[in-house]
Symmetry: C2
């Protein structure tokens, strides 16, 4: 069946969003046909507004629509939690378990992908360590995340600041039976006293 | 955490797409931040283009960017397959099992939702029956789809045109164990000789 060009074009745009396959993209495009003219205009305006208003916080590098982000303005703790991406800040904020400041690297070190320390938001982190007691490194527990954590620890520890790493182990509510071998062996190795 | 207004606004737009929840919508909005200016412009252009170029085929009511759709132009069989929505045409075309014409109702009869025959694309169907042998009703096998099928059959049969309904039964590859009772009892009642 010959597809309608404009629908196919819109579907391929939707297809650039994360996790959207051909079928879902087409479904979204069809939904747009059913939208009112005003809704489509508002959709476009929202797209452009995000692109024009969202910038990086001058302090932590997180997304903001101001010079300095809300979290940098309101948090005055002595801890900085370092994450790879803005979405990681959201994940940690949702836990409610951390009330310090953040620092967003916008990536992790990856020799394979030619991402060196100069490509990450690291220099400004060093400039923020005044009055900071602890830097918590909350990059993902994968090869790149680990490499980035080790790199940052080597950089920051000599400055007299404690550097910690979020714990790795068995997820809450998961079953040992289904845990991967690496996670399980690390959980054993890092066992804690009861 | 205070959300950035423009990101929240865009996420709520994405949230109007079918099957997109809060979390997915936010994920899409974040992806837009990472798009280039040109990509966002192209996205907007594609949205508007769909809205402005897609209209309904003057014959069958399916989406088209022309006066008459590609299928109406190229199909010359003596069968018309009646479906509720344009996406149903795509589903049937994918099977390759039908090479006749289509007719899109843009809905099904629903007294509950105040959808009467006048709200559906039915009148133009009656005007298309010249030279047609069979009208296949391919609405969904739910209450509204069945009601619509029965209504159309009563309308069309007196005009001397055969009216058929797509078969209902156990899906190919499914397991009896998991079939719902209605489907299973219908599959039994409509059993065919081997």
């Amino acid at each position: 069946m010959k597809e309608i060009k404009s629908i196919a074009a819109l579907a391929s745009r939707f297809g650039t969003l994360p996790g959207v396959g051909r079928k879902t993209a087409l479904r979204y495009a069809y939904a747009v046909i059913d939208m009112s003219e005003q809704d489509v205009d508002a959709f476009c305006a929202a797209l452009r507004e995000v692109k024009s208003s969202v910038k990086l916080c001058a302090e932590c590098g997180n997304f903001t629509d101001d010079e300095v982000c809300e979290l940098c303005k309101t948090r005055h703790g002595k801890q900085i939690c370092v994450v790879a991406y803005p979405k990681d800040v959201i994940a940690i904020e949702k836990t409610g378990a951390f009330d310090g400041k953040y620092h967003v690297l916008h990536g992790t070190l990856s020799p394979m992908n030619n991402r060196t320390p100069d490509d990450l938001n690291i220099k400004s982190l060093l400039g923020r360590l005044n009055g900071i007691d602890e830097v918590i490194i909350a990059t993902n527990p994968d090869v790149e995340g680990e490499a980035t954590a080790v790199y940052l620890a080597r950089l920051i520890k000599p400055l007299g600041v404690k550097v910690t790493r979020i714990a790795q182990g068995i997820s809450m509510g998961s079953e040992l039976e289904y845990a991967d071998a690496v996670t399980l062996s690390q959980a054993l190795g890092r066992r804690t006293a009861l």
